[in-house]
């Protein structure tokens, strides 16, 4: 194992709150109804293939990708389609969802449900990309970029690094951590599958220093596979950001407006890699994922294997429900997630966690004047000047936003976290990005 690496500029050390590190992944069970959104990725919503009254099984294709930047959607339960209409999502917006009434738990016959680990990859690179596309796999780190596009790289841009992102630097979340401990071998085989597609021989699994179990398990297993190495990274937020991770491991910097592929890197979340393994080896489309339910106001925190479309309230109920202490329910991590408006909204392919936070953690002190301490500049992992961005946004000098490179902001929230004057700098940066986009 080589020395511990980390990215060179910025970063913060928030409290970890990883209270669910040792709780094994449990099946969440089946709710009465599931609501499956047809848009769980960036790009165009998928075309709906089913109608009211249709019978579906687990893994049945219910919506077909519309265009290249789009992804297939599969049924996560067996039962009857009762509604295809617009339903309120987590932020209140209406989204087209397919409602399925759960009847039994019958899988599509093609899905291999055995637990044994298959090691031989019987497909060619082209076939694998096709399988990944048909399985509706998207980047499960949160952005929802359809995975097949990442895999189909032009020949002249062949990457020399495949990085598996097992950092999970957001406080509270442990879904990837548990996945790495319990499904270590599958993840490594998944990496080998991607290797085959790309035509390269190495893979680096980047793991945060604060996950000793995952590091140990993966290091032991990776000894049996040529080219797969574990790289420990320092515990620092936002170590899991794609650009930060590439910089930490390879020392290369992704220029503004460019993709990791332009510097010869391909980053995949470990959750995505596991989904690729299941799709290729077990013929299982992406219809379930690991979700951490946690938070300081959560009575029974844990990691759950949840079917896509399960209402968040069903999951929260299993973990002790909404008590008086709960002030906000956050979808995603506490740093980058947004507090939800509607807790009946479904879990999607992108939901990595559901957090029940008490008033203690959600308090929002009043904004005071900037004291020019420069802490936001110190912690910004992209090397921006958040205080200057905030000034130009507040005073309406939108011309200054372009030279301040607000478009490079990764919205990690380090600046808001550190600000001693409690200025919501991230809000201003987001607003600046909006204004810059509008002026184009």
């Amino acid at each position: 194992m080589s020395a511990i690496k980390t990215f060179s500029i910025g970063g913060i050390h928030p409290d970890k709150h990883k209270i669910t590190t040792d709780s094994p992944i449990r099946e969440a069970g089946l709710p009465e109804y599931v609501y499956i959104p047809v848009k769980q990725h960036i790009g165009a919503p998928a075309k709906i293939l089913v109608q009211k009254g249709d019978k579906v099984k687990v893994g049945t294709l219910i919506a077909d990708a519309d265009g290249i930047v789009s992804a297939d959607v599969h049924s996560s339960v067996s039962g009857e389609v009762t509604k295809v209409e617009d339903i309120e999502g987590e932020f209140g917006w209406l989204e087209t969802m397919i409602t399925v009434k759960v009847e039994g738990d019958e899988f599509e016959p093609s899905i291999d449900r055995s637990q044994d680990v298959s090691k031989d990859i019987p497909y060619t690179a082209g076939e694998i990309v096709q399988i990944i596309r048909e399985a509706g796999i998207v980047g499960m780190g949160g952005a929802g970029y359809p995975t097949p596009i990442k895999e189909t790289v032009p020949f002249e841009k062949k990457p020399d690094f495949l990085i598996l992102n097992g950092i999970e630097c957001e406080p509270f979340l442990t879904a990837d951590d548990r996945l790495m401990v319990e499904r270590a071998e599958q993840i490594i085989i998944g990496a080998k599958i991607i290797n085959k597609v790309l035509g390269i021989q190495n893979a680096i699994i980047a793991i945060d220093e604060n996950k000793p179990n995952a590091i140990e398990t993966l290091t032991n297993i990776s000894r049996r596979y040529v080219g797969v190495n574990v790289q420990v990274c320092a515990t620092k937020y936002p170590q899991g950001g794609e650009k930060q991770l590439i910089q930490a491991i390879t020392g290369r910097e992704v220029p503004p407006g460019k993709l990791p592929l332009d510097v010869g890197c391909l980053v995949q979340n470990v959750g995505t890699v596991y989904a690729i393994y299941e799709a290729v080896m077990k013929h299982k489309p992406l219809f379930e994922r690991v979700v951490t339910v946690s938070g300081d106001a959560c009575a029974k925190p844990g990691n759950y294997l949840v079917r896509v479309g399960t209402p968040a309230s069903f999951l929260i109920e299993q973990c002790g429900g909404i008590t008086e202490d709960v002030d906000q329910v956050v979808f995603g991590g506490p740093m980058m997630g947004t507090s939800a408006v509607n807790i009946n909204a479904p879990i999607t392919k992108l939901t990595s966690g559901i957090l029940l936070l008490s008033k203690e953690l959600t308090r929002h002190p009043a904004e005071t004047a900037c004291i020019r301490c420069g802490k936001c500049v110190d912690v910004c992992p992209m090397g921006l000047r958040p205080f200057a961005i905030a000034c130009s946004v507040r005073d309406g000098f939108y011309d200054e936003l372009k030279p301040l490179h607000v478009a490079d902001c990764i919205e990690c929230g380090c600046c808001s976290y550190i600000c001693p004057a409690k200025i919501p700098l991230l809000d201003y940066c987001k607003l600046g990005k909006y204004e810059l986009k509008k002026s184009k």
Partner: protein
């Protein structure tokens, strides 16, 4: 001692003289001749530099006016100064001013605190644009006013203010110059520039909600439910996506009162509905 003072005066005087001569020749050599009428025209304009005319500012507008011929001059119009200013500019430059109907910005939402009560708590900077990116809005209406007043901050003429009781912005008809700054600012495109109408009487649908009737009414009692009643009064009115739109050609004096009376939710607003009765 006296000599020293004298010497100083002489030296500084010489420097000033040399600088003056240099400046004189430079200003002769590099002088840019500009039509003096441009400055005189600019003096007639309001000088708000708001860009509502479509030019970069008042100076740019004045330049265009001076360079224009009789035909292209009719396309130039300063909405801030209105007919009065354009009349002055036209007389000064020897053109005839084009007649245009005075316009005003209207808010196409009635999601007041009473009609659309707050259901969702919001913490964060008080900006409509950011709130619109984050969630659906405090009232739960996806197209309704977010009530943080980004439009108020952008209005250069003080024609907008957030009404304390209603919670939504109110347009001051006398101050509004229909420059369109609020139209561009509102993230939900709630403002529309409409003709003021005869005696300030105009009729419009004050709603942008395209949801189905029941869903729209759940969040706001004054939402347009797309019931089609208004289309029966005047066939020019069209309902698309459960939302009615009254074109500016529909006369407020003639149909205003009737439309308001027949609208079941009160989504249609007529500024002076009693005109016809008198």
């Amino acid at each position: 001692m006296d000599n020293l003072i004298l010497l100083n005066i002489i030296i500084l005087g010489l420097i000033a003289l040399i600088a003056a001569i240099v400046l004189y020749f430079v200003s002769k050599k590099f002088s840019v001749s500009e039509d003096p009428r441009i400055d005189q025209t600019e003096a007639l304009l309001p000088g708000a530099n708001c860009g509502a005319c479509g030019k970069a500012g008042c100076h740019d507008f004045a330049t265009s006016c001076v360079k224009a011929d009789a035909k292209s001059f009719s396309n130039l119009y300063c909405p801030v100064g209105g007919a009065k200013v354009m009349e002055k500019v036209a007389t000064f430059l020897g053109f005839t001013a084009a007649q245009r109907e005075p316009t005003v910005a209207v808010l196409r939402c009635q999601g007041t605190c009473q009609n659309a009560p707050e259901k969702i708590n919001y913490i964060g900077i008080k900006s409509c644009r950011l709130a619109n990116k984050t969630f659906i809005g405090r009232s739960g209406c996806p197209t309704g006013c977010l009530r943080f007043g980004d439009c108020v901050s952008v209005c250069k003429f003080g024609a907008l203010h957030i009404d304390e009781k209603l919670g939504i912005p109110v347009v001051d008809e006398d101050k509004c110059t229909s420059c369109g700054a609020c139209v561009n600012m509102c993230p939900r495109q709630l403002f529309e520039i409409r003709p003021k109408g005869t005696n300030g009487n105009r009729v419009y649908v004050a709603c942008r909600n395209t949801q189905k009737g029941a869903q729209a009414r759940k969040n706001c009692t004054a939402a347009c439910i797309g019931c089609m009643k208004c289309t029966k009064i005047n066939p020019e009115i069209k309902v698309e996506n459960n939302l009615s739109y009254i074109p500016t050609t529909v006369s407020a004096d003639e149909f205003g009162a009737e439309l308001v009376k027949n609208c079941p939710t009160g989504a249609i607003v007529c500024t002076k509905p009693s005109v016809k009765d008198k």
